[in-house]
């Protein structure tokens, strides 16, 4: 293993883990965050803020369900507003986890080890947040179950030509596989926590969650097989979920939605925003819990590179949208693009171009990538930009479509904002609970990437630093 402290351009020689750790010290350092009897004040502060925001969500949901969608800013022609913007945004964010866990696992990118647990958790929470919106945005959410093919006595099924039904399947499958993947990956660590917990209640709790894991060779063998299989299962989902989400728009005939480039462009955007969110969250937590040794500059740098790459794909998508609007010769498409740029929502379009294309170009610079606060800022900007992208796609396409007599404007109400901000609260609340009660870095996988004092256990081929 390389242990040179310097980095050279293009040479990822920064170690994944700062040298000097042993199996025991790694385990200590990660598990103590969970098992320690004292909770840092900063956690409380963060949790309180998050929990406070969550109340806005509850208020918003209550208001919506009791009084109706009229409390939102949507209207005719803009039938979809913040809810769908937020849905796509959250789903996009939820892409990084699976990508990091599954695809990077299959590609044997061992640097993923320090961040995969965290990213998977983030994925789950983001998908939970996303899942709220399709339900909430229904006029009669209490009939949301009609979207599922349950055996109704009326023998009525969902209308399977609708991309919204595909969405239900895509998102629920993704959520299920992500949850399983995450949980399976947690089992050995839960056993570690069980073994190290002092309090009886914790022992029982973690013990039950650990499903009787004893760390036998047989366990490890089955675990590795299952984990690989799940990784294989999750991999296509990374591509499929946002592809299907993009169908929500692409299969319509609305100018600005009816575009064949949407699936790849949405997937790239999703990974883009997912990595941006991982960076946004990792950087403060790494700092708060002093995890610089495990989440090193190499991680940040790699994530920044992924962001840069996917950002360029997204930029290509924007460019193609403009090109095809012109090349199609379709006056509605041309008008849509012009309206997007210069219409009443024009500033949002240019803000999104700025956030998603211009600012990330800073990432070409190694110095920028080495500057953690700046990296954090860029990640934040990309998060905002990706939200704006969805806003622009949803709103500007709808508000001026075919018949000028039916054109309108969309302005969100306080309920829209409460639900949006509240969903961030929900996300952060879950995240804070997660880092308090579960190991946010995979302990056992970290052990596998430590420089071996002796030959590594043969039972971890998938997670091992093979090829090194």
């Amino acid at each position: 293993m390389a242990t040179h402290p310097e980095t050279g351009p293009g040479m990822p020689s920064t170690p994944i883990v700062t040298p000097g750790y042993t199996y025991a010290s790694v385990t200590d350092k990660i598990s103590v965050i969970v098992l320690s009897g004292t909770t840092p004040l900063s956690w409380f502060a963060g949790f309180l803020i998050a929990f406070g925001l969550l109340q806005a969500l509850l208020l918003g949901i209550g208001w919506t369900v009791v009084f109706g969608l009229g409390t939102w800013g949507i209207n005719i022609p803009v039938g979809w507003g913040f809810a769908i913007v937020n849905f796509v945004w959250w789903i996009g964010i939820g892409h990084a986890g699976t990508l990091i866990s599954a695809i990077l696992l299959l590609l044997r990118q061992q640097w993923r080890t320090s961040i995969n647990r965290f990213a998977e958790a983030m994925t789950l929470f983001a998908v939970s947040c996303a899942g709220l919106f399709p339900l909430l945005h229904m006029g009669r959410p209490w009939f949301g179950y009609w979207m599922f093919p349950y055996p109704s006595t009326m023998a009525i099924w969902p209308q399977t030509r609708s991309p919204l039904v595909w969405d239900v399947f895509a998102v629920s499958t993704y959520a299920t596989v992500s949850l399983l993947f995450w949980y399976v990956g947690l089992i050995p660590d839960l056993a570690t926590l069980r073994d190290r917990a002092k309090a009886r209640a914790l022992k029982i709790g973690y013990g039950m969650l650990a499903l009787g894991w004893r760390g036998s060779a047989q366990h490890w063998h089955r675990y590795e097989t299952a984990y690989l299989l799940l990784a294989g299962l999750a991999t296509p989902l990374v591509l499929s979920v946002h592809t299907v989400v993009s169908f929500d728009f692409a299969t319509s005939l609305v100018p600005g939605w009816h575009t064949t480039i949407f699936p790849p462009y949405f997937v790239a955007g999703a990974i883009y925003s997912g990595f941006a969110m991982v960076l946004t969250l990792t950087i403060p937590i790494r700092w708060l819990y002093r995890l610089d040794d495990f989440i090193t500059m190499r991680h940040l740098r790699n994530m920044a590179n992924v962001m840069l790459a996917t950002g360029l794909m997204v930029a290509y998508g924007y460019l193609m949208e403009i090109f095809f609007a012109w090349y199609s010769g379709n006056p509605f498409e041309m008008f849509m693009m012009l309206n997007r740029m210069t219409g009443p929502y024009g500033p949002f379009y240019w803000a999104l171009i700025c956030c998603n294309i211009l600012v990330p170009q800073l990432l070409w610079s190694e110095r920028v990538k080495a500057n953690v606060p700046l990296l954090f800022l860029i990640a934040l900007v990309v998060n905002v930009g990706m939200w704006l992208e969805r806003f622009v796609i949803v709103i500007t396409s709808l508000h001026r479509d075919f018949l000028p007599s039916a054109w309108g404007m969309y302005y969100p109400t306080w309920v829209d904002w409460a639900i949006f901000v509240g969903s961030i609260g929900l996300f952060l609340t879950m995240l804070f609970l997660f880092i308090r009660v579960l190991p946010m870095i995979s302990i056992f996988e970290m052990r596998t990437i430590l420089p071996s004092p002796k030959p590594r256990p043969a039972a971890a081929p998938g997670a091992g630093p093979a090829g090194d």
């Binding site: 009084f67 022609p77 229904m138 006029g139 209308q159 018949l403």
Partner: protein, 995 residues
Amino acid sequence: MSHDAMPGHDGIDWGEIRRRLAERQGPEYWRSLDEVADTPEFQELLHREFPEGATEWTDPVGRRQFLQLMGASLALAGLTACSSQPSDKIVPYVRAPEEVIPGKPLFFATAVTLGGCSVGVLVESHQGRPTKIEGNPLHPGSLGATDALTQASILGLYDPDRSQVVLRTGTPSTWNAFVSGLATQLDSGTQPQGGGLRILTETVVSPTLAAQLQAVLAKFPAARWHQFEPVSRDTVRAGARLAFGETVNTIHRVEAADVIVSLGSDFLTTGPGAVRYAREFASRRRAETPATALNRLYAIEATPTLTGGMADHRLVVRPDDLESFARGLAVRLGIEVGGHSWRPTPEQAKWVDALARDLAAHRGASLVVAGDEQSPAVHLLAHAMNRALENHGRTVVFTDPIEAVPVDQGESLGQLVADMQAGKVETLLILGGNPVYTAPADVPFAEALNKVAFRAHLALYEDETSALCHWHLPEAHTLEGWSDGRAYDGTVSIQQPLIAPLYGGRTAHEVASALLSDPRSGYDIVRDYWKSQRRSGDFETVWRKALHDGLIADSALPAKVPTWKGVIPAAPSVAPQGLDLVFRPDPAVWDGRFANNGWLQELPKPLTKLTWDNAALMSPAAAERLGVQSGDVVELTFAGRRLNAPAWILPGQADGTVTLHLGYGRTQAGRAGSGIGVNAYLLRTAAAPWGGSGLTLKTTSARSRLASTQGHQTMQGRNLVRMATAEEFRKHPDFARDPGDHGAGHQPSFYPAHKYEGYAWGMAIDLNACTGCNACVMACQSENNSPVVGKAEVLVGREMHWIRVDRYYKGGLEAPETVHQPVLCMQCENAPCEPVCPVGATVHSSEGLNDMVYNRCVGTRYCSNNCPYKVRHFNFLQYADDRTPSLALLRNPNVTVRSRGVMEKCTYCVQRINEARIQAKTHDRDIQDGEVITACQAACPSQAIVFGNINDPKSRVSQLKAHPLNYGLLTELNTRPRTTYLARLRNPNPALEQG
């Protein structure tokens, strides 16, 4: 479009707008001024109009309404959270009433009187409750159609704000107490022969009521009967008196006229006979073949009317100039005029010349119509021109007046007020009307009223006048009481009640009979009167037939030839000063009587598309000079009186002319109508009931939020309303077709087309006939239980009309052409809404209908997003009022009342299709062409809408769809709309086209 090109910050850049409009070529339409300029101010205006955050919470009134709505929603959530219908027991009749079959509506012929003219209607009754008003095909003034006001009047019947009890100085009393109080008052009168008694009515066209009032006057010879109505036809009558020395009723034979000149008249949509005139006019606008000769309409007007919108040529003149123009035209036609020193502009001179030639070439087949609001001199000139053109007896027919006693109502009211002020009036009975609110500002009616010892007011609402009267008597609604009335041609209809008075209301007949100490029921009064009119024959048969048919046969007044006594005086030499003010009855609330009618309040006014408000309409040029934008509050000063009103820029308005619609700014209209808009009566004087010059206008810093349903941008060259001249149509009969399309408007598809065996329903809308009068919108709302959403919801774009009338402008700012396009669900064969619904709540029927299954709808609104026509409407809140008991009676039982969270849209009146299907199946036959008539089609005065089976090549709709003018909207999307349009033709005069 780019921001660089935007004008400065001092408002709309008028030069820029003109330049942009001038640059446009071909049939491009624009909808509003700001959109042409696309100014940042306009964008800002948008922001101001639709501020961020829930509008409900910034507007206290809106919040209250919103809380009410929420209350309903809460109740809904508290129940099973899915249905708001309470459980109810249904008990069958033990002994069924005669002719009543549950589920089968009955239709009764009756009449609705408005503005001094009755029109015959058929009212649909479901087990005793009237639910819908249709025109009476037998009635000459209706021919089966109605106008928007008549359609909406049924809501008034069930209005929960109607007065429900007799009030004596504000406390509940009884009818009997009133009758005895009245008798005591009359007995104790100090003046002999009832000298202190005055009766004030609106225009009386009821022969029965007139006879009763004459009897009252016979009993009390010193009593007086006054008539006053704010939208009266005083000038029309005065004009007739100038021409013939007597009041005559003028009937236009629009059908027979090849060339029509409208002098500020809106004869196609307002005034007596408008419904009929629209039909006759449209019959001469249908180009069956390219060779068909169309009529030609010229409109000279100061403020845009719908008639002006239908005109082939429209000349905008100042109100003063209209008379000069008429005089000039008369002179040019060789009519002797007292004195004439008009200096026409070159354009006016060209017009006079062209019109005179065209009129002279169509002697006996031309028609000059003067508007009801024009001065008596204009009417006199119109009569003189018709006479000179030998139109009398051909396109213009005279009869005795339809008013029982035609009086100058302004004078009549003035006399009454003078008497009241002089203390001569001891007893005043106000039978209908709301004179405290509607009296001219310089006639101190309210003040004088306080000097009357005994004053009683019979009215539908406890309104401004009731508040100042000792007695308020709830009036029976038109559909609750017996009466009668004359139509535009004098035809008498018996008004028969559909339902017993909901709140014990009485008719004017009953009050009059109380005066006569002859208490009889309304039925007896009306029947006895007509019995007394018939000397021979079997009265019972005639009476029954009259009730059944909705008119008394051959009761139209005979045509007469009044002798010409007209001497056209010299033009008054009044130099116009300042701006001009024009008053008009509101197209929705009329003179204010419909102020509490939510349907009408929410009905987008045909030209401004404003709802829930009136505004000071002004020309773009005036707005430019004053730096005023739509929504800015301006201070109007006229004849020493001031009024603040929000401005609205109206293209086609004469420069320097401000138009105010009457009927707003009411204080005691009811929950819906009080406190909205501005009261134009405050500026109206007895001398200038329709306005005059001398208006000054000052800007203020205030702004008002006006809820308009119109869009904001240009048509972007989209070919939505297709249009050509008759000449172009002759040369290129297929101009309206899509390029490369050979009839069906279908694009290629990978999928096989749906097959429609049996019926395939379709609709064709003739844009040549559509005047934009909104009758279809009201008919649809009434037929389909559409809710009213309120101003706050209209402001955020959530109005619920299943059919809307889009209005586009073409040409310059000052005198644009106006076109109207009704848009309803196109019932696309490839409906974009259908595949996107996740639960299959919108599905295709075997007959090509795009069915909406409310029960299945979960409200994702994807269907609406994917609808290129945006004809779907969503229940964002619990819009349907399910808590007001009286409104439950109003509902059409065949149409589901939609709850919150559900999408809805036009169904092609599927309930009517199914009704016809049941009929046809019962008789084992197919549905015949014309058997299914949709609500919009039935109401349309000009028969612009035709519905039927397009699988039947002989059906009218099939024939129209085969017409070369037929085209579909947005067919390039391959939606295959079942609703198509017939392109609009203009028939311009070549002499006016050049230059």
